[in-house]
Structures are given as C-alpha cells and as structure tokens.
C-alpha cells in the first residue's frame, strides 16, 4: 500500500493472476465434471461387463462406453471454448512432458477414444451389434475385439482411473493456489467421478441386480468422498499458515456456504440417506437421488475451482 513499495509490488502483480486468478471460468468446471463422470462411466461399465453375460444387459449399459465418449467430446468442447489460441491445440501433441499433468491429460484423452470405442463395440448386445454391422464394415474389428475382451476392458478401466485422477491432479499440482495444494484432490475427484457415473446410469432403466450393485457402489463412493473431504479439511487446518487460510475459506470463510450446503449436504449426505432408505425399505428408486449426486459432483468442481482461484499466497499476512 505504501508508495515506496509500489515498484516491488508491481513486479509481483500479474494481471489475471493477482490478486485472484481469473483464467478459468465455468467451462473448466463443466469439463472437470464431465471428465469425472466419463471416468466413472468407463470404470463402472468395464466392471459390470467384465464377465460375458448370457442375456444382453439393459440398453444404457450396452451404450455406456459410447455415451461416455459423447460426454467426453462435450467436455473437450467446453475445454476448447476455454482456449485462447484455439488453433494451437495441436501443440499439445507435439511433445510429451512427464512432469506436466496437462500433457498427461492431453495424451490420456487421445488414448481413451480408440480403447473406449472398442469396448463400446463389445458392450453392445447382439441386436444393436447387428444393426451397426449392417451399416459399417466392422466385422473384422469386432472379431478382434472379442478375442481381446479382457485386455480391452482392462485398458478402458485403466484409462478411466487415469482420467479421474488426472482431473484432480490438474488442480492439485498448482501448489501456488493454496486451496488446491493437497494430494487428496486426485482421489477425491476420482471417487466423485465414480459416484457421478453410477448416478448417471441410475437415471436410466436397469436390471434389478445391476441397479442394486450400482446403488451400493454409489453409496461406497459417496462415503469415501466424505472421508476424503474430511481429511482434506483436516489436512488444511493442521498445515502451516497457508493451509490455515485454505481451511478458513471452507470453515467460516467465503466458500463455506456453497461447499457445505451444496457439496456435502446436498451432494453427499442427503443422497446417502436416500439410498440407505431405499435399500432398507426396498423402495423404488426415484430420479431425485441420482440428480442430487450429479448436482453435488458439479458443485464440488465449481466450488473448489472458484475457491482455488480466489486463494493465493499473496493473501498471507
């Protein structure tokens, strides 16, 4: 504030970065959410389809990997919207930098497409496969994919896990933003992606056994998410002054209301209670529960993204 210090501060104040980071808007929140959702869909569908079935599973499960690809493309579309130099997108693929999560992400995204497309082909029931083969010359591809079934599903699973963790690490490695300076973000976004994926599938008609399994997995993922959030907040609160600042934002500070009300209460606690009632009382599932889980997943990304951009070491006294 003192004029004599102006020169010093002017070297520190970078437009767009100080006092608050402003480069990431809603596009990135939606992208991170869709990325997590896609990761969850890929992981869950690979697990559910791991063993070949006698009867074709529900339509949405047959289509899950392909739907995941559509959602991923949507997400990349929002990402592309965010790029300032849209034509330079190819540059991501001229190099691979093992220390950069953005580089990892760019390559994971590219590798997921063929793998998920092939497992998508495998996942289709005989009826849909027949329709598709009539239109496209894919007989050879399908035969090859069927021989490599376990490998392909395993690769899809791995791709899903990689994608889920990467969406969290992307923020987690930006340690200059103290709200993101935690290793928990990777696993947190992965489990949140799993619960979003399960919730998405639960919005559609499913076999009783699959539905039951998904509800239980969703409950597990939500519970783990709660534990990870608790450890994240506790970690902040017990870290140094920077961590204290990050904890304050969530414990009484600017982001307290949206974080606890939208993410924890609406997105985790209430769906958990609804799902446990559902299992205990054998009630029919209603769309409200998965809808709340999905909204909570979106809120988690949006709140952490915004809170992180609002936080920085400059705020330290």
């Amino acid at each position: 504030m003192l004029p004599t210090l102006l020169e010093h501060t002017s070297t520190r104040v970078n437009a767009e970065i100080d006092p608050v980071l402003h480069i990431w808007g809603w596009e990135i929140a939606v992208y991170l959410f869709l990325g997590g959702l896609v990761a969850g869909l890929l992981i869950l569908s690979s697990l559910l389809l791991w063993r070949p079935r006698d009867t074709a599973p529900a339509r949405i499960l047959q289509l899950a990997p392909l739907v995941a690809l559509v959602l991923l493309s949507l997400g990349m579309g929002t990402l592309f919207l965010d790029l300032a130099y849209k034509l330079h997108v190819f540059r991501f693929y001229l190099a691979f930098r093992p220390t950069s999560p953005m580089s990892w992400g760019a390559w994971i995204l590219v590798l997921i497409y063929p793998v998920a497309a092939l497992s998508g082909l495998l996942a289709l029931g005989p009826e849909l496969q027949g329709k598709l083969l009539k239109k496209l010359p894919l007989v050879g591809v399908l035969a090859w994919a069927q021989r490599q079934r376990q490998v392909l599903l395993g690769a899809t699973l791995a791709g899903g896990v990689g994608l889920g963790i990467y969406t969290g690490l992307l923020l987690g490695t930006l340690t200059a933003r103290i709200q993101w300076n935690t290793a928990v973000l990777g696993p947190l976004f992965l489990t949140s992606g799993l619960s979003s994926g399960a919730a998405f599938l639960l919005l559609f008609k499913l076999d009783e056994a699959d539905r039951h399994r998904l509800v239980r997995w969703d409950m597990l993922a939500l519970a783990v998410e709660g534990v990870l959030i608790a450890s994240m907040v506790l970690g902040f609160a017990n870290a140094g002054a920077a961590g204290q600042l990050a904890a304050d934002a969530l414990l009484g500070g600017a982001w307290t209301a949206s974080f606890w009300s939208l993410v924890v209460v609406m997105g985790i606690a209430v769906p958990l209670v609804l799902e446990s009632i559902e299992i205990k009382k054998h009630l029919p599932l209603v769309a409200v529960t998965p809808a709340l889980v999905l909204l909570g997943g979106l809120a988690l990304r949006a709140v952490l993204l915004a809170a992180g951009q609002d936080s920085g070491f400059r705020l330290l006294p």
Partner: protein, 393 residues
C-alpha cells in the same frame, strides 16, 4: 445473555448460511410429515373436514412462543436481538387476504408448494413457479402498490408491548387460546364428518392429550419465569451490531435520512474531525435518543468497534450498529491515498467495492478517482470472458 448465537457473533455469516440449509431440512421434513405436501389435505382446511393446517400451525406457534418466553425469562435469550417482521397494518391485512385467496386456488402456500414439489407433485412445482412469477409482477408494477406497501407502518410492534403485558403472559395466553380453538376445531370436524358420513380425522386421543400436556407445561414454565428476578434483563447493556465503513458511508451520502450518526469518541477528537453528517455524543441532548424515529439506524462511531450502546443512547427504539474498526478504519479506508490496482483482474464483487471506494474517496477528499477505475474499461459480462490468456488442460 448469549442467545441468539449468530447476532452475538458465535459464528460468521457464511456458516450461518449452512445453518440455514440444515434448518430448512428440519422445516421441510416437518411440513411433509404434517401432510402439507398434499393439496387436498390443505384444501380440506377450508371445507371444515380436516383442520390439520390450523392445528399444526397453531401448535407450532404456541410451542415456539412459549419456548422464547422461557429462554428470555431465564435471561438466556435477548428478545431484542431477534429479527421480527415489522408491522405495516394495511399491506399485511390486504396481503394476508390475497394470500389466503391464492392458497385455496393453488392448494398450497409458498413453503408447502416447495415441499409438494420435492415429493413429486406437479401442482406444487407449478405453484412455486407461480410464486416466482407473482414476485416479479409485484416487482415490476411496484409503483402501483407503493402507497399501500408503505402504509400503516408501526415498526417492530409486539403484542406484549401493545397490550402492556410481559411476553410470557401473552405466550401463555396464546397456548390457552390455541387449546381452546383446538377443541372447537375438533367439534367442527366431527360435525362435518357426521354430515358427510365419514370418520373424523385424527381421532387418536393419546398423542393429542400428551401434546396438550406439553403445551400446558410450557405455558406454566413461561409464567413461572415471571417469579425470577428481572434485574438480569435490564442490567445488561444493549448490544450493537456492526457495519462496515464502505456500505455505511455509501448510505450516509446517498440516503442520509436513513441514518443517525453519533460520534461517541472524546469530544476533542470528534470536534477535530468526524464522518460527514455525524454529531458528537456531547451534543446529543437528553431525551433526544427516545425521540428519534425508530426506522432510522443509529450508527456509533468510536475509536474502535463499539460493542455496547452508551447509556445516553440506550433509549433509542430502532436498530443500533457500530462502525467496524471505528473512526480509524474510516480514515484508513477512505481518506488515505488510494493505490491504483489492475481492475481487469478483479472479481466483479471486488471490482464493485474498489470502484465504490474510489468514488467515495474522491468525494470525501476532493481527489481524482484512481485512474484504473473508469467505467468504460470494466467488462459487464462475467470475468471469464474478459481478456483470456489460455486455459487449461
């Protein structure tokens, strides 16, 4: 007196919002289990066949009123710190009548429509949508309603002050009135059910009698607190809330009629320099505090944040707040030279604050507004769309 917690700064505003969500969950749960998520049950109230709405509402009012009376009587809760709807006789009368008409047409009131929507009733969803539209109708045609809306103002007026009785006596009277009305309501239900050859609703006597017993105990406990020494209440000085410098000065310049600024620092300091339009405490005559209109806000300016209202001003009937940080905060925020900052990197809230500070600084000191704040540069759209430099991932 430590209750209510929030006005006594037990936790911050943002935490209070989380409390809001949790309170709402309890409220919504109670409304649904009361049967208020079903329009036919609510409508039955107006045809005499099922008086559930009346019973639930009046029991809730009696319970909360006696609860407040007991807590206040014990000296734990300061009734003066509760946010109580101000009385405006005419708009409340007409608004109530109109709301009753809408209630029987829609089958829901706004809160119950929300619960009905949550339990899947399309009628509830449409009603809540209608409430939103209606709010906008009022907002956009406000000049039509303005005279009525502002008429019959009586400020914060409680029944106990109106009747000149202790709070707990009126609360106990509410219980007596409620229980009396409940017997009447049940008689009406029986009469209508007999006529329609139906079974009267909720004929279970045990839960009813137990509830009445609870209400009676609450009422007696409220009355019993009258026997406690009342010095507890009067001995405690009035507490003042706080207001930040920027919004205060903004209001002081734009709508000075809303505020009564009193500088409570030493006379010498106050005479030397104080806020525009502020008077020194030494200049406040005896009885002036009681005579000031209660719709004004009394703002205390001290050497720091003032927690308790000075005795000379304690008779003031309206809301009392004190400037956060006192005069030094004002001087530091608005009289010191403003550093220019890069406005394009600010969030809209910060930018608005920055511009406000610049404008106030300029007005108070006669200096130029800081160069970085011209309105034309400011993007009106979301900050994300302003000069973007590549993003992520």
């Amino acid at each position: 007196m430590m209750l209510p917690l929030y006005p006594n700064e037990f936790f911050g505003r943002s935490t209070g919002m989380v409390v809001g969500t949790l309170t709402g969950i309890g409220f919504g749960f109670a409304l649904e289990r009361s049967g208020f998520g079903r329009a036919p049950i609510l409508a039955a109230q107006f045809y005499g066949t099922n008086m559930r709405v009346f019973k639930v509402m009046f029991t809730a009012i009696a319970t909360a009123a006696t609860g407040l009376a007991i807590l206040a009587g014990l000296g734990w809760l300061d009734l003066g710190q509760l946010t109580i709807p101000e009385t405006y006789w005419w708009p409340q009368l007409t608004g109530g009548l109109l709301l009753g008409v809408g209630f029987i047409i829609a089958g829901y009131c706004p809160g119950t429509a929300c619960v009905a929507a949550a339990s899947g009733d399309i009628g509830g969803m449409l009603t809540y949508l209608g409430v939103m539209l209606g709010s906008l109708v009022f907002g956009f045609t406000y000049p039509v309603f303005a005279d009525l809306y502002l008429s019959g103002k009586a400020g914060v007026l409680r029944l106990d002050t109106l009747f000149g009785l202790p709070y707990s006596v009126v609360a106990a009277a509410v219980v007596a009135l409620a229980v009396g009305c409940f017997f009447g309501a049940e008689a009406i239900e029986r009469w209508f059910s007999k006529r329609n050859q139906q079974v009267a609703p909720d004929a279970l006597m045990r839960p009813r009698n137990r509830s009445f017993a609870v209400l009676a105990v609450l009422a007696l406990a409220a009355l019993a607190t009258l026997a406690l020494p009342q010095t507890v209440q009067s001995a405690v000085a009035r507490k003042a809330g706080t207001i930040k410098v920027l919004p205060l000065v903004d209001t002081a310049l734009r709508q000075p009629e809303k505020l009564w600024l009193v500088d409570v620092r030493e006379q010498k300091l106050c005479k030397d320099r104080t806020l525009p339009a502020a008077v020194c405490l030494s200049d406040v005559t005896k009885g002036a505090a009681a005579a000031m209109p209660s719709h004004q806000q009394l703002v205390l300016i001290g050497g720091d944040t003032i927690k308790e209202v000075p005795t000379q001003l304690a008779e003031f009937a309206g809301e009392v707040v004190s400037v956060q940080g006192g005069y030094p905060a004002y001087a530091a925020e608005l009289l010191a030279d403003l550093p220019a900052e890069a406005t394009q990197s600010m969030s809209p809230a910060r930018l608005a604050e920055y511009r406000l500070r610049g404008a106030l600084h300029a007005r108070l000191t006669g200096a130029q507004a800081p160069v970085a704040a011209p309105a034309a540069v400011v993007p009106t759209a979301a900050p994300a769309s302003a000069a973007k430099k590549g993003g992520g991932c």
